[in-house]
């Protein structure tokens, strides 16, 4: 089986596990919806204000929501010591990471799909810039969150306070990506400045961190 065959097997397994338990998606969806609704009632923004703050709110909501799912995705591997069985496999460890990160990407993407229409309604949004560019920014931003999140969740797997540890490590390291995704989204929604440089920042961030995560994952997995 090829490397991507192994990735697909891991991805299919994670989708199957989530389909049966729905632990991650339900938690994420509930949390993200709560943030969006609470902010809408708290600020009661006008359309112009919405365009300025929406980028920040949507990404912060997704970041917080994703953290709940990222921890959950590795907890499944700890249950019954399945992770030991994974470590014994001749399959490349990075395939496990990539499969899990892709599964998390799909889960967060699903939450985004549910969240987007609600966001438009609650914040009375319509993009003044090139709206189609959101189709580039959203996957890039989501991947930046889930790739690092999946990696750092695995890093904290054997610690007692892993739920606390993940945000402590993930949030500071995600600052460049958050800046890129928030600014790019605000640029597209408000049309006041070019999103291009921020999208390039996101691409560079994703290339650098995806490569590092793939290369370092075996070390993280085999750590005692």
């Amino acid at each position: 089986m090829t490397y991507f065959g192994h990735v697909f097997v891991h991805l299919r397994k994670d989708l199957q596990l989530e389909w049966r338990s729905r632990d991650s998606i339900n938690g994420m969806l509930f949390f993200a919806l709560l943030v969006v609704v609470v902010f809408a009632f708290a600020f009661d923004p006008t359309a112009a204000t919405s365009r300025q703050i929406a980028g920040g709110i949507v990404w912060v909501a997704l970041l917080f929501a994703a953290v709940t799912a990222l921890n959950q995705s590795w907890t499944r591997e700890l249950r019954n010591r399945v992770l030991d069985a994974q470590r014994m496999l001749p399959s490349p460890p990075s395939a496990l990471f990539l499969g899990k990160a892709l599964a998390n990407l799909l889960f967060v993407a699903l939450v985004e799909a549910v969240l987007t229409p609600l966001f438009i309604v609650f914040y009375n949004l319509h993009a003044l810039g090139q709206g189609w560019m959101l189709a580039i920014v959203m996957p890039l931003g989501t991947w930046a969150l889930v790739c690092n999140g999946t990696f750092f969740a695995a890093l904290g797997l054997r610690t007692r306070n892993r739920e606390l540890l993940l945000p402590l490590i993930l949030f500071p390291i995600s600052i460049p990506a958050l800046l890129g995704m928030m600014q790019a989204t605000t640029a597209i929604l408000s049309g006041e400045f070019e999103p291009g440089p921020w999208i390039r920042l996101l691409i560079a961030y994703n290339i650098a961190f995806t490569t590092a995560c793939l290369l370092l994952f075996e070390t993280v997995l085999s750590a005692e």
Binding site: V9, R20, R79, R81, A85, L89, E224
Partner: protein, 261 residues
Amino acid sequence: MQIVDPQPVIDRNAAAAASLTEVSKLYGSFAALRKVSVAFSVGSSTVILGDNGAGKSTLLRMLAGLISPSRGSVHVFGAEPTEQRRRIAYMSHEAMLYDELSATENLRYFASLQSDGGCGCSCTASPEMALRAVGLDPTLTRPVGQYSQGMRQRASLARVLQTDPELLLLDEPFSNLDVESAHHMVDLLLDFRTWPVQSPLPAQPNSATNPSVTPSIRARTIILTTHQAHLAEPLAESTMTMRAGSIVSIVSAPPPNQATP
């Protein structure tokens, strides 16, 4: 049973499936293993006994490549355990299966990750065959999370047997089984040692030194830890006893032709 040597020994005459040399494992100031030296010859079947905390599981996890020694060296088929993953299978007293998937789904998942690029058939037993062998119904769609402890243990055994390993490491395999199921498992393990080999793996270098190992029939090695020595007796070609991280005795059963009538 015959006491060969009350002290830890290394049998240098037989080809070693696994060996530990002066191995210590420290967790902070606690020594889980203390200068352990032992070799398990190819095709042997060893039962490790000892109280809780004696170091049995640590030794097994080390042979599986799941933990590394603080001092000393561990070799499996002459290499690092992590380099021999295709030839080793490890079963813990926990199921090592996903609760949300059925036994067949679990086994298919692990089988597909075990297969190599060469011929795609490193797993010689199908998940269905392996499950039938341990007495489970492969058509059962119930998730493993709803299985009884005994069923989980048998599904876990099927997971390791389907990979047709040369070195089988079993950590407390009878811990959740009733006596009848445990006897069935022992019979299965005895049978497993004589299963015909269909694996495409090349002949091992030790086949030259050990005439019982030929390119077509690989001898399987079993190392098992348990508290229930009486259950594992049929498997105990040699019995190793550990205490406080050290081997205190290795007792070998006489060969069948020397057994007392």
